[in-house]
Subunit: 499 residues, 2 copies
């Protein structure tokens, strides 16, 4: 069909083509079908939407992802990409071959799939799982789709933590210990999605984290390590696109977690990786059994990718460290590097660092490197190399001046500090955008408290954000205290709904 093309910007990255409903019927296409548009300088394939208001008959409105297409064009029905059939196979619970997963990844990377198709892939993987072979092939395809880094050293260390634990800011400490021991450790981290702070957000309190590939290389060559935002380098473009459709349904299928994490590690050139798998109520991984299975998968698939992957399984049902929020977490990191700070954050960081050192076959004590100040010196070097102030002290860190301290209403025992509620309270206070906003824990589950003892303090930058956080905290009790009786035995109260 001969139509006249005009350009339209509807803010989408999907190559959308808008037809008048009458022309679409004449052409025999429906919304979400594909058409090929042949014009003077080539052809492009777009996904059909119809509109009677935006497009007159005889016209076709072409969105930006298809390039600049105007004037007379020939529009014909185009077949679905093959990857649509492979997605359908996954929904039918048929194992996908390497080249089928590669076709899906390529089409995701090129934005060739509609949202319903991409969502069907993610839900298919969620409902039917991925075998180890599929996970391996998916990971390899995801690595191939992005940039990769290479290093002129035989050992490149890395770490990752499956998310969900509030605080838990071990990365800057582990990187400092490893780099101080002479190990190359180019760490890319994420920003917060649903939490109060990501490692990249916290590190941004100290220095620049938005580095290009050449800058990363320069920092690592100078200091052995770095802590930068992974999103500023194009190492895993497909992962970002998949996460976009996972988020609305809070889907995080294990096969996708494996491929997401391992593709990032492989892309950055890592050879030895430690992966922390926190499990428990409120963590991403619900049970010890599931954590062990995921750890086994990580090791096996990592090995097939040519990486030595060590996994740690940790309790993930409560926060690690006192501070929740960028500035408060930065304070905890600096305190641990100074030989002080929350005991749980210190112990976890040292243990992860020691396991990674052993995996890299480096004969060094993580505890000693931290205790004698070498880790702190290395951290200062990295901060300086990333254009931060190496002489930063706790007093320089942002801290919201509008505060409210929440105390125990009764004598008793702290029953739980819920990761999700603690994160959400900090977010209501302004985290992660307000670097000084957050929640500062004074207790941990199991601690005995007396009425009036501090449980936590909320920090916010304005009175209104503080009020927002207080309202949420009052309604949801992020830190709960039970009577000594109830601490270990809670009597179940059946609800009164009809059966």
């Amino acid at each position: 069909m001969e139509l006249v093309a005009t350009e339209i910007d509807i803010g989408t990255r999907t190559p959308t083509v808008m037809l008048n409903a009458e022309d679409a019927e004449a052409l025999g296409v429906h919304p979400l079908d594909r058409v090929e548009i042949r014009h003077d300088s080539g052809t492009a394939v777009g996904i059909v939407e119809t509109s009677d208001e935006l497009v007159r008959t005889g016209r076709v409105a072409v969105t930006r992802p298809l390039g600049h297409v105007t004037g007379p064009v020939e529009v014909t029905i185009a077949p679905k990409p093959k990857s649509a059939a492979y997605i359908r196979k996954k929904l039918d619970d048929v194992e996908l071959e390497a080249q089928e997963l590669d076709a899906i990844v390529t089409d995701v990377n090129q934005d060739r799939l509609s949202d319903p198709e991409l969502s069907a892939f993610v839900t298919g993987v969620y409902a039917n799982g991925l075998s180890r072979a599929e996970t391996l092939h998916l990971t390899e395809s995801m690595v191939d789709a992005g940039e990769t880094l290479t290093w002129n050293v035989p050992v490149v260390a890395d770490k990752h933590s499956i998310g969900g634990v509030a605080g838990n800011r071990v990365t800057p400490i582990v990187v400092s210990i490893l780099a101080a021991a002479g190990v190359t450790i180019p760490k890319t981290s994420s920003r917060a999605v649903t939490s109060a702070a990501g490692t990249a957000d916290t590190m941004a309190v100290f220095c620049d984290v938005d580095l290009g590939i050449d800058e990363i290389r320069a920092v690592v060559e100078e200091t052995n390590g770095c802590v930068v935002w992974g999103g500023s380098v194009d190492l895993s473009p497909v992962d970002d696109k998949i996460i976009r459709v996972e988020t609305p349904l809070s889907l995080d299928p294990p096969g996708q977690i494996l491929a997401s994490v391992l593709s990032k590690k492989k892309s950055v050139g890592s050879t030895h990786v430690v992966i922390d798998v926190p499990y428990g109520e409120g963590a991403k991984v619900p049970s010890l059994a599931a954590a062990r299975e995921l750890a086994e998968d990580f090791s096996r698939v990592g090995e097939a990718l040519g990486m030595a992957v060590e996994c740690t399984i940790t309790r993930g049902s409560q926060p690690i460290g006192d501070g929740i929020g960028c500035g408060l977490e930065a304070r905890d990191v600096l305190a641990v590097l100074h030989g002080d700070g929350p005991a749980d954050l210190r112990a976890k960081s040292v243990r992860l660092a020691q396991i990674l050192l052993a995996s890299c076959d480096v004969d060094a004590s993580a505890e000693a490197i931290l205790a004698d100040g070498r880790a702190l010196s290395k951290f200062r070097e990295i901060v300086a190399a990333q254009d931060g102030d190496p002489d930063v002290t706790v007093d320089d860190l942002p801290l919201g001046s509008h505060t409210r301290t929440v105390t125990a209403a009764r004598d008793g025992v702290v029953r739980d500090a819920n990761n999700r509620l603690v994160n959400e309270t900090a977010r209501r206070a302004g985290a992660p955008r307000d670097l000084g906003a957050g929640l500062d824990l004074a207790v941990r589950p199991g601690d005995a408290v007396a009425a009036g003892d501090e449980l936590y303090t909320i920090h916010a930058g304005t009175e209104s954000k503080l009020a927002e956080a207080e309202t949420f905290a009052d309604a949801n009790d992020p830190v709960r205290v039970g009577s000594t009786d109830e601490a270990f035995v809670e009597q179940y109260e059946p609800d009164d709904r009809p059966l």
Copy 2:
């Protein structure tokens, strides 16, 4: 956050809100999250997309489905609708309760779900299935979401065929027989989606099928029956929205088929229904076992909805009738009503009509009503009531004058006439839009043919459409002839791909 709203039309029915990426970050929202927009005259909830080009900071672009929103507004994070959590439950293979399915259907009907969410529901139903209780509740919710018809008679008959069989235009014949026997049968039918003609398309050759509810009522009160397009009345709005995302992945989960068909029957006020379930290679239902299971489900769920549902299981691996395409199928219908026409179409129509008469407890012979011309008279009445010419003859029907007859290249036996390929050839020739386009079968699988015997004739309105159909047919052989040896025993040729 205070922003200034402007209107934008991006042709979507989803209530989309476009934010500048910087404002989205400040607000802590990501694409596909929700925001609430509070303005002078109320509040509205929209799904977030971000764009740096379409929206400046400080602005928010609001699409039409949210109503006319302009000027200063307060934008805050809004929670996901509860139905998102229920969709997630379905993906986790947890049985949904009635009110959970109702929440999903309500949100689909109100366009409150994003495409990834809606797609996740369909794929979840596909991957994990629906129990009979879930199917019942889904169907009830779908009925509640649309208009319903009621009739002042105790018995209202209806029929439906699970699609996939080319030709198969039994409906106008069955309706004519039942209406002639005095049974109320208000039949709503569909237009073609991927086939060469739907019942509504074929009936449109004779008369108007685009009737409103009052017009349908008038036709049925006058003649007992009608054959109209279901899409012109708002009987199943949710079904249409679900089909939109099913189509790109050719998903048709059984639970969804049941809910789709039964909700339409219930909405139209039917009490006694016959449902034809064709099975076999190329049909929607692949096996006899699957057909029996679907039939059992139809009967059980139909009964729970207060309808008597009889199912027929028929061979669905080859076309029924000679003509494929609107005008050619109309010709077959008229021929059968005149006591002539393809034997398979005649026999199937009479049998379905007889089963439906018996179900309605009407003591009448479908064969006799057809043979003595009462069905033809009734058909003419219905055509006249729907503003068509009651005296139509075969010569009045549209028939493409550009033709090519394809003949057998060898002596042998017709091995198969593939539904999909036959439909697709007819579509390339111009069906369903060109009423005279299609394919006219001269043989059926199993027929012995001599070299040079006609297999089928393609009809098209123009030489170029004829050429397009010929090219497709030459490449795909919609009707295949094998040697007598091969007719029943085909030797398998392994492909030469590596393992």
